[in-house]
Amino acid sequence: MKKGRRYSAKRGWSLLSHERRVEQALLISALSSVFILGLIIIFIFLEGLPAFRAAGVTGFLTGLTWAPTKSVFGILPMILGSLWVTGGALLLGAPVGVLCAVFLAEFAPPRVADAARVSVQMLAAIPSVVFGFIGLILVVPFVREYIGGPGFSVLASSIVLGIMILPTVVSISLDAIESLPRSYKEGAMALGATRWQVVSMVIVPSARSGILAATILGMGRALGETMAVIMVAGNSLKVPTGLLSPVRTLTSGIALEMGYAEGLHRQALFAMGIVLMTLILALNLMASAVSRGRSK
């Protein structure tokens, strides 16, 4: 047994330590997403905080004037702009998205459901610049011709964003509907409910927390969308007064000026990033609180 080193204690130990090293490397990659999230927050805050200090938190958040050349940084019009278009997108996109999820789960014949599912996935893959472009050549002229105003508007942005949040709303609502126990539906059917009654009285109410989470995440998408909004919103710095006024959102405000901003101006753009990031984090926390409530 002198040469039988294969099963020696030493070899066994080195194998074990090899396994250990692999496990550690894998643990590091598992933590990478948390680490990157942390890095993003740190870098955005480090770059943006000086602008908060220079303009004052309230001055920055509630100021009505954005004049980088005079070092006046008030972002209220852009915050309101973001809220307007996000609200509009939700009003248009969320009901259609939820109904589409109901269609996929309950109404569509298998073949149609299949095609619709593929469409939803493909819709998620279309680049946001393409959505913006379609908005620019179709939606903006439509609003200008038939509804009024310059066309570049809250309304045009809401329509484009309403379409863009569909994949998020549909897929998460669909998950919620499909995870309901079959007995809910069967029970209602056995009581003689029609298909629509089952949907409106049993399925949608039971899946409401999932649907709510879907809507909140859709809101996050609308709030964070940049390139499509730039192309259809008009990017005016005035406080929007209605559906037809042109707006600038936080995201498009950042993207429009990042190319040439320097010094305090650039820091102010990062400070807008802080505001955006805070809103997004809040929405995410809400969504996970809502869906955790469901699983309990």
Binding site: L15, A30, S32, N284
Partner: protein, 271 residues
């Protein structure tokens, strides 16, 4: 009555989603394909893109993906292996999972800002393939983690048990048995990430730049097809060429995502 109306609304919504997709694709293809020629794909642009083709942008798009996708795959698949094979549900998995979820919800413009400070300025990579690629790698990481973890979990327990029974160690089993079985599923995530890398604009424009020159090194700035399309369309440089670029972009994205969908179906059918 209520029934009729409800059913009608549900069908209308379903049809609307399909209709919108079809409309977008057909508008871009109908208007763009006539201008899409071999010359357009193989020539350099002239006069800011008013004339000539998009060869440097195609190269830029692929180079960027060439940096982004492997980095995201290594990190993402590693994370997925750890989550599915090495740990039980607990505090760690909860932290990693919510971190991944939040990262997936971070807007691309924020990734752009972040990549700009970290890679372009702090690490001194400048506007380059590397800066843009790493930014996109971080952005697509959640996609790869999620699909890979799902695929790994779908591999039946018995595969691992048989391998252990034959005397294989844990890592050996993962490498030789679990990963190859989950291959198609993992590849789905990789293709989805590739699709997102090709489609992205906001995060790329501030990290990779918008240079029109043909890139010769990983530290050269590039303009991707999506960024080129954005600049052509927004600045009204050339509508014909904007449509043609969009058509090339859409075709590429449809191909990549169809492959992803097909792989996912095959994988689901298998397990």
């Amino acid at each position: 009555m209520k029934d009729r109306l409800g059913t009608l609304l549900v069908w209308a919504s379903g049809m609307l989603v399909m209709g919108v997709l079809l409309a977008i694709i057909s508008i871009v293809l109908v208007r763009g394909l006539p201008f899409l020629s071999l010359e357009f794909l193989t020539q350099a642009p002239q006069k800011m893109g008013r004339e000539g083709g998009i060869l440097p942008m195609i190269a830029g798009t692929f180079l960027l993906a060439l940096v982004a996708v492997p980095v995201a795959t290594v990190l993402g698949v590693g994370a997925a292996i750890y989550l599915s094979e090495y740990t039980v549900e607990g505090r760690l998995t909860r932290i990693v999972r919510s971190g991944t979820e939040i990262l997936a919800g971070v807007p691309s413009i924020i990734f752009g800002l972040f990549g700009f400070v970290l890679f372009v300025l702090t690490l001194g990579f400048g506007w380059s393939v590397v800066s843009g690629g790493l930014t996109i790698a971080f952005m697509t990481l959640p996609t790869i983690i999620r699909t890979s973890e799902e695929s790994l979990r779908a591999v039946p327990r018995i595969y691992r048990d048989v391998s252990y029974a034959l005397g294989a160690g844990k890592w050996h089993t993962i490498r030789k048995v679990v990963l190859p079985s989950a291959g198609q599923g993992i590849l789905t995530g990789v293709m989805l990430a590739l699709g997102r890398a090709v489609a992205e604009t906001a995060a790329v424009i501030f990290t990779a730049g918008s240079s029109l020159r043909f890139p010769t090194s990983p530290f050269d700035p590039v303009r991707t097809m999506a960024v080129h399309f954005y600049i052509l369309a927004r600045e009204g440089i050339s509508m014909d060429r904007a449509y043609a670029t969009a058509a090339a972009l859409i075709v590429l994205i449809l191909v990549v995502n169809s492959v992803a969908l097909m792989l996912m179906r095959r994988y689901r059918a298998r397990f």
